[in-house]
Amino acid sequence: MNNVVDISNLDIGYGSRCVIRNVNFSLKQGEMVGIIGCNGAGKSTLLKTIRGLLPKQRGVVKYMGKSLEEYDDKELATKVSYLQQHVEVGFGYTGKDIVMAGRYPYMKWWQRESKADEDLALNCMSYTGTIDLADRPVTEVSGGQKQRILIAKVLAQQTPIIFLDEPTTGLDMVYQEEIFRFAKALAAKGKTILMVVHELNLAAKYCQRILLLGEGSLLADGKPQEVFTEALLSRAYKADIQVERNPLNQNLEISTRISQEDREKEAALLDKIC
């Protein structure tokens, strides 16, 4: 299979401050890949830089063999869609307004959305279970509903590559898993998914491949069972990480391990406080 995304020798950061050096990886069609790492490791920065939302410091980003700089804004938006971490929608825009925004790259500047665009937007909303929210202002819906509306927008953009930046942050367990299921179903349909993930257990369960960021570089790139090792995760998260396989469903389960010494320290401090 051909690579749809090629990243080589990429340095990313803000201004002159470099956050991650020398990133190299490729994505194939239909892959579902999770980016993990501790807070501040540069996961979202990496995703934004690859999408062209932040300037890169060095290196090459290619989509379908063509470098990022050769794409104009609209053409790129027909190849890659991006769901950002926090979206604040004011002014009483409805769910349908948001999803219809996904059709923007396909329209000439003077055109209006066609009936076909509207039908597609409504189908995307039906798929994500938000059709009932089509005419409701987004400010009136819950966090989970808003996220599903935004996923419908990403779907309406009809791109072969989908970037999701922490799509499950702030959502309850049911919504979190639902979003991973959506992503997996889309990958099965041939879309390439690259997502920043915080929930390691869900990443282990759903992602085919994991990119682990830590120590200012791409520490590991491989299948979940190759990356989710105690040694690698402990290095990346600067903590003692424990990885176990659930004997019932064979899923990997990741948690932190606290040493006896730390536990005693904490207990002593708690005694002082309480």
Partner: protein, 346 residues
Amino acid sequence: MMLKREYSSVALLFLLGLLVVVGCFSLTFGQIDVPVQDAMAVVTQKLQLPLLQEVQVTKEQLAVIWYIRLPRMLVGMLVGGALGASGAVMQGIFSNPLADPGLIGISAGAATGAVLSIALGTATTSMFAMPAFAFCGSICAVCLTVFLAMRNGKIPVMTLLLAGVAVGMLLGAVTSGVLTFMNEQKLQQYLFWMVGGLDYRRWEHVYLAAGPVLGGICIMLLLARHLNILVLGETEAKAVGMPVVKFRMGLLFVSAMTTATSVCVSGNIGFVGLVIPHMMRMLLGPDHRVLLPASALGGAIFLVFCYSLGRIVMPPAEVRVGIMTALLGSPYFLYLLRKMQKSVFL
């Protein structure tokens, strides 16, 4: 209470009808009351339209309607439309419901231009001198604001607003400084301009404002769909392929130019650009394809209504339109502020 979107074209037609009614009201009432039919007859006869040709109008009526009330009403409609549409665009660009065309230094720049024109004495030599100075002042102020706010080709909204405040203060200081050296007569002249009004507006002012205002509103209407995307925020707009800086700058300059034109023909008129887009958004929803024409029509209606009301509220004196819009607009604005804590429009 928001109107369903299917009815938005009906609502726009209603606003258009209301504009005609307010226009007739403005032509009819005043120190000399002229019957509607006679007022219409003056217009149709002057334009040589095959309508109401048989109605006899007096010379006095002709003078009052054609040379006094009609140009003032048309200037009022143009200025109101410009302020309403520009206000809606500014609120969209800044994703901030409290944004106003005056926020990025337009009014302060116009005031500095006007005061310089008066101080240099050019305002008395030509009627176009002060509008031209005011216009240049506003455009310079906007350019300075944008230049100060721009970083690496990006204009962060908050920086732009703060830069607008700083430029406004700086120019306010320049204006005050020049004012302290001016004589009584020139101060009066400045005050007269400062309290925005439509009195002494002539056909020349209509010709002066018509092109830039109507052109500006047309461009804004053409870009309304893009504004809907821009309102979702910079990242969201970029993610769907919008060249954000290009559109933001373009819309900013069109609305700044339109506002500057209106400020230079009528002085500073507050609250139209702030209150009208708000009201229209509450009634017709946030889609700029409806909101922009509605705000333009609403602004025109509100301004002409305030002007007409100012003429009849305490005769024979006229309350200037800038005072009327502030008197009617500020209580509504305060009500909005109170209500907005719970509102979805924030």
